[in-house]
Amino acid sequence: MIDLKNRLKVLRAERDWSQAELAGHLDVSRQAVNAIETGKHDPSLPLAFKIARLFEMTIEEVFDDQA
């Protein structure tokens, strides 16, 4: 199993967004955002692309599989 780290919490904090606000931008629930940030859920590929595009970054800049 790959341990997927992400910078979602940091990126969200830089924009002073709440989890609910980020969830609104991504069209997911607040709990989904929380689960991704705490590592309980790895986003699907479409959601990962959506996250990367929202923050104007590549997927690799947001997520790290520690390979």
Binding site: G24, V28, S29, R30, Q31, A32, K40, H41, P43
Partner: protein
């Protein structure tokens, strides 16, 4: 934004249903295990009926709202996956371990009993595994 709000509402509904279902199932199971059905009060009997209804209703709600979000779907899959593993363990190994138990601890009663653990306890164990799977997926790791 309205669609997201609806999604959030349905996600909350799914999560609350999982909690209500777990509580209802746990209460009903506990009462069934410790109480003598011939001597319980009407109130206790009613409370168990309510718990079972809450448990059943919550499962329906969880099933209906499982696709609200990819997160709720992953919770549902975690629960059904755990339940499937328990099903496999019970069906494949349940009888073996039950007979092994009786052969070690109650050998004089071994021949009088059919393998009945899965029959009596299978369904509760499957449901317990389901809720354990859902709950385990919700607990944060960092």
């Amino acid at each position: 934004m309205e669609e997201t709000t609806l999604r959030q509402k349905y996600t909350n509904r799914f999560l609350r249903a999982s909690e209500v279902g777990l509580l209802g199932f746990a209460y009903a199971s506990l009462m069934s295990a410790v109480l003598d059905p011939l001597s319980v009060s009407v109130l206790t009997r009613l409370s168990v009926i309510v718990a079972v209804a809450a448990w059943g209703g919550s499962l329906i709600v969880m099933f209906l709202y499982r696709r609200t979000d990819e997160y709720t779907l992953s919770l549902w899959h975690a629960g059904t996956g755990a339940s499937f593993i328990m099903t496999t363990l019970l069906l494949v190994f349940g009888s073996f371990f039950e007979q092994l138990f009786y052969s070690i601890f109650m050998p004089d009663r071994l021949l009088d009993r059919d393998a009945e653990f899965a029959f009596y306890f299978g369904a509760p164990m499957l449901m317990f595994a389901f809720y354990l799977g859902v709950l385990g997926k919700r607990v944060p790791t960092r």
